[in-house]
Structures are given as C-alpha cells and as structure tokens.
Amino acid sequence: MNRIELTRNPLIKGALKNRYPQLALFVAMLVGYLFAILAGLISTPVGNQNFSIVFVWIAWWAILILVAVPFFGRGWCAVCPIPLPGEWLQRGATLDPPHRKPGWANLRWPKFLRNIWLQNISFLLLALFSTLVLTSPKLTSVILAAMLFVALGLSMLFERRSFCRYLCPVGGFVGIYSQTAPIELRVKDKRVCATCEGKPCYNGSASGYGCPWDVFPPGLSKNTECGLCLECLRTCPHDNIAVNLRPFSADLARPSARLDEAFKAFIMLGSAMIYAGILLGPWGAVKDAAYHVGTGTWYLYAGAFLAVIFVILPVPFAFCAFGSGNRHPFKKRFSTLSTALIPLGLSFWAAFSLSFVLSNGAYVLASVSDPLGLGWNVFGTANIAWFPVLTSLLAPAQTLALVGGLVWSAHTARNAAGEVHVSPIPAILYCLAATLVMLWLLL
C-alpha cells in the first residue's frame, strides 16, 4: 500500500530519535498536569472558571478527539505525562538506560488481564460519574492525581507501562481509534528482524529501552497497542523501524477479532449517544439523575447506561453477525463485524465534542488569564464574558461528521463482513439506524 516514510527525512528522524525533544515535551506536559491538579484543588470550585476543568475536559478533550486521535492515533500517548514518574523510577534513568538493572519487582502482567477489559471497566466507571467529574474541579484533580499514583505504583510492581497498556481509561479507546489514523510505526523489512540477534527493540540495549508497551515491533500490524514512544527507533541496530504516513483507517482493512475491543467499540458508541442525550438534550430529569450520584434515580440512570452498552446496542448487532453454515465461530464474526463501529464511534464522538467544545471553548480565554482564580488578568482575557463560538457552523459540521462516519463505517463493514463471510447489509443498516438516532439527539 502507498506509504510515505517520514523517517526517511534525516531531520525528522534525528528529531524523533533524539531523547531531548521528546523529554522536553514530556516535562512540559508534566508541568501542565501538575499545575492542573493544583488548580483543581486550590482555584475556584466553579467548574467553568477553573483551569483544571477548562483545560482538561474542554481544551484537552477537544484536541484529543478532534485532532490527536484522528490524525496522530496514539500521538497523545507519545507525550502523555502520566507514566513518566513511574517509568523514570522503574528505569532508574531519565535518558539512556543505565548500566545497572532497576531493583523493582518487574513482574509480568497477569496473563488473564492481558486485554482491555480493565480499560473498558475504568472508562465505564469514569463515564458513569462523568457529570460529577466534568463539573467538579476537586474531583478532577483527585482523578488526575490518582492516575499518576496508580501508574507509579504499577510501574514499581510490573514491568513496562502496564498502566497505559491495561488500565488507562483513555488508552483503550485511543488504541482502537488509532487504527483510523494516517500515521503508523512499523518495521521496514521483517526478514531483517528474523535474523536480528537479541531483539533489542523488545529487550532493550545500551541505546534504548525494550518496548515500554510490551509490544514486539516486528509483529506490529495495527496501531492499537503501539504507543509511539519511539524507543524501537532508538534501539533497532539495523535502522529497520519507520514512521509512515498512510491512508486513513488502513488498519481496519485487517479487522481485529477480539471481544474486548468489540465491546470497547460499543462502550464508546453508547456513551457518545448517552452523553449527547443527557448533556445536550432537553431531558432535565435524566440530567438530574446523572448528577445525583448515589440516589435511587442515579442507580436507574447507571442501570440504563449499562443496559444501552451491554444489551440494547450489542444484541441487535449480534443479529447482523448471524449466518447459517458459516465456518467462522459466532464470536469471531461478531467481533470482526464490530470493526465497522470504530469509524462510526469516532465520528459520533467528533460530532458530540464539536457541540460542547464550540459552546464552552470561550471559557479557555478567561481561564488562561486567571488560571488560579486569584483575580489575575495575565493576557487581558480574564473578564471576557462567555460566548458560543461558530454556532452557525455547528449543525453542518456535525452532520458532515456523522454522514462521513456512516460512509466510512459502511465501507469498513463491507470489508469486515467479507472477512467472515456474512452479508454487510444488516451491519450497514445498523450503522444507519445508529447515525439517525445520533442525528436526532444532536440536532
């Protein structure tokens, strides 16, 4: 397939291989992350004026879902500061590997947890409490700090980045959606790897660490588990690692057949629809139920939330995977066909995020001028009153995103259905129905 190897350019390659540019970005992100935690704790509890809420749930989320994931795949993971402190301690170094081995437990991650079910659960937990988390700076800070500490703790116990790979609530969906991105890291020639001694890309060497994501780079065929940390680019003694530009959604041509990933697709699809309904919809009672965590109505809401994701969405989809006399097991057909929901879910999230980003984006201006709520006016924008941005473009942009997502998912469904020899028509109709519901919810 047509690829452009970015690392062919010596400047790009040099910048990617060198540790300092990445480290500088990492540290800048860590500074921002710690600042956001503190701002959430000490600045105003008023959500739309607090730096942590505005920068995490509005600015970061917008960049993640509208730019980073669609165009750079796991690009965010490549600069995310959460694993940093743990990784530094684990490695005993911030730059090149030291001569001695680190003295931490360095355990292997349990085999039965080598999937993204824990990530599905951690995302669902956040999703169920999201109305509180999205509006409470203190809770946001607690969650940000907790992620930092859990990642640190896991780095001390287990080898590599087990938090990122198996627990991070964001990492799971970024992983499956990164298959659509026009960027990838792959080996250039697998024959070179076959004869490579010591496999330093996985085991590490003096010039770099073994894959922090516990991936064997020569086996990479999709983006899901590659965190773009670029260690293999540094360790490969044969210059056999490339970062490529490629067509969008290239990985979806070879559909995954994992149930955990299939359910991640349902979780993302379902939560985008539920959020569109409760955060943007006119149903005050439902919104109220979502806010009042712990009350009877909240349990009803949580039950309904889980029912949508685990029953209402997957059961009709299961019928799309039926086919008598098919030699592929049902589980494989179901999981493979659910690949079609990846572009669909991404477009749902893009459409939903456009709505709240354009309506809440203006808060960034006030927050950046007075990030600690102390009455500062650093950039002269502290007292700018809230205003919605580009609202006239919202409905057309959302429609475009949803229709584009539908076409993309139909194309993916046709491909996936072919892989497991079922008709793509029911899956395409399913995507159409879901898109119509989302259009109704948003517009």
Partner: protein
Amino acid sequence: MKRRELVTRVLIAVAVVFAVGTPLYFWLRTPLIHAKIAENGGWSPDVLLARPGEPLHLRLTSDDVVHSFAVGKTDMQSVDVLPGKVTDVTLTFDKPGTYTFYCTRWCGLNHWRMRGTIQVGDPASTVAAGAAPTAGKVDVPLYVTLGLDIDSPHDSPLVPGVRPSAADGEELAADSSVSKFIDPDFYRTHSPYQAWRELRNTSSYSGLSDQQIWNLVAFIWRSNTTAEELASGRKRFAQNCAACHGENGAGHGVFADQLTAAGQASMKTMAGAKDMRRQTPANFADAKRMLGASPALLQGKILRGGMGTGMPSWGPIFTQDQSWDLVAFLYSFPFLYQE
C-alpha cells in the same frame, strides 16, 4: 551517573518544583473571601479585622452563584461577587465597632443568613482588634424605650372598608387642622388605629364618616414622611424584604413559597415544622395587622427580627434613618399613597 543524566534530573526537579510551588506560593499570598450560599457555609472567613482610618482591602469571590457584598450602617454601594471571579473592595472605617457585612442578592433560600462581621478595633485601646470590639454609642431602639412587647398580637379592632386614600384625606385635612398629628413623636408612637380613634373621639371630626377618618389617617401617615424617604424605603424593601414578603408585600415572595413548599427548616416556627400557618411571612397589605401596629413596633420587628419565625434581624444592617424609611414605605401597602 553521567553528567547529562544528572543535569537532566536537576532540570526536571526544578520544573516540578516550579509547577507545584508557583501556584501554592501565589495562592498562599492571596487570601480571598469566599462567598457560598448559606446552606454551604455563607462567607468564609466571616469575621474580618480592621483598624479605624486604615484602608481594608478585600478580595471577594463566589464559589457558587452570584452574590453581592455590602456593609450595614455604611453608605457603601453593594458590589456583585461573581462565580469564579475576584472582586476587589477597599473599605475605610472611621469609627471602631462591629460592622455587619451581608449579601444583597437573593442567592438561595437562606440568603439572609449570609452575614459576617468586620471588627474595627480601636488602636488607642489596649485590647487587640477583634477580641473585644469597642462599643460605640448604642442607639436604643424606640420600642425598647417605649417598653413595647413586639411579640404580642397587635391587630386593629377596626378596619376600613376600602383602602384609605391619602389624597382623599388631604382634601378633608384642608378644612380641619391635623397639624398636631404631623409630628414624628406622635407618628412613631401611635398605630394608625390609635390615631383613628383619637380623631374619631374629637368632636370637630364628628361629621366625618369612619372611612373619611381613615383617609385622614392615611394622609397623616404620608405627611409624616417624604417622597425621598419612601423611595429609600422602597429600594431597601426590594433589596432585602421582597424575597420573602413579596414585591407587593402580601407575604408571597419567591422564597416564602419555595420554603413553604419544601417545609424548610429556616422558616420553621418555634412550635415546630407542623405549624405551617406561621411560616408565611407577614402580609403588609393586611389592614388588621398593619393598622394596629405603630411605626416603633414595626421598626422593632425589623431591627430585632425573630418573632418565632425566620424573620432576620436587620439591626446590625440598617441605620435608624434607613429603618424609619422602610417602616414608612410599609404603610404604603395598607394605605393608598398614590392614585
């Protein structure tokens, strides 16, 4: 350890200390006064210290809804305190004493509970500011001097058939002298009913009907105040009283209705939550209640508050003049002052 690893670690440590230290440093150096609805704590801190003649700089912020900050018994204009924003206020107190600051926005059902004190210490005094605020000259309210029991019923035994009109009374007054009634000492110490009875028993008014005498009383009551005082009273009523007593004074302010509906504790009577009847704030349009109450009695109720209801005490907030203006305005509910 290699030199560049060491340098990198130092740089990272500096960046982390910067990320954590900078916000903490500025946060600790910038004490803010936080406003929250009374149910969540009101003002924090709610006791402020100051010295006479020295400017007191305050930085206020709201942690929830829009509040407003004002200091009682001063001529300070109230300032809005917006959620997540900081409002700067500078106050200077000439005299030592304890001042009450309060919220003037109807921020929540217990809005009136949002109060705090500024203790202005006397530098000449050996007592530290705040420990024992120097009491200035205390104005003893008139109801105390008169020995009025403001908690006992004061209904007027008689009420007019129609709302007494000051304009109609003015026409009658042209023919008959009422000047002895237009006197603060008489006005403040008598209820309209007492004035009516006195007029009724005066032979020179024997030709007037009961309603005409009520009209005369309305005129007398209006004559004991001025348009400016009524305007001042109206403003204070709208700001502080209408939330419960209603804009038309009928006792059905937005909070009163909500509190009654919710059976809220703040308006519970001393007889307990079941006694819902008394939870309704006073109806100033009720002639029986108003025509039996003297200005001194109404002023007492305003200044002291209580009465076994949720009525706040306004003594620390209104000056004597302001409270008299408010009382004068209250009589515009039973009386018709403007046609």
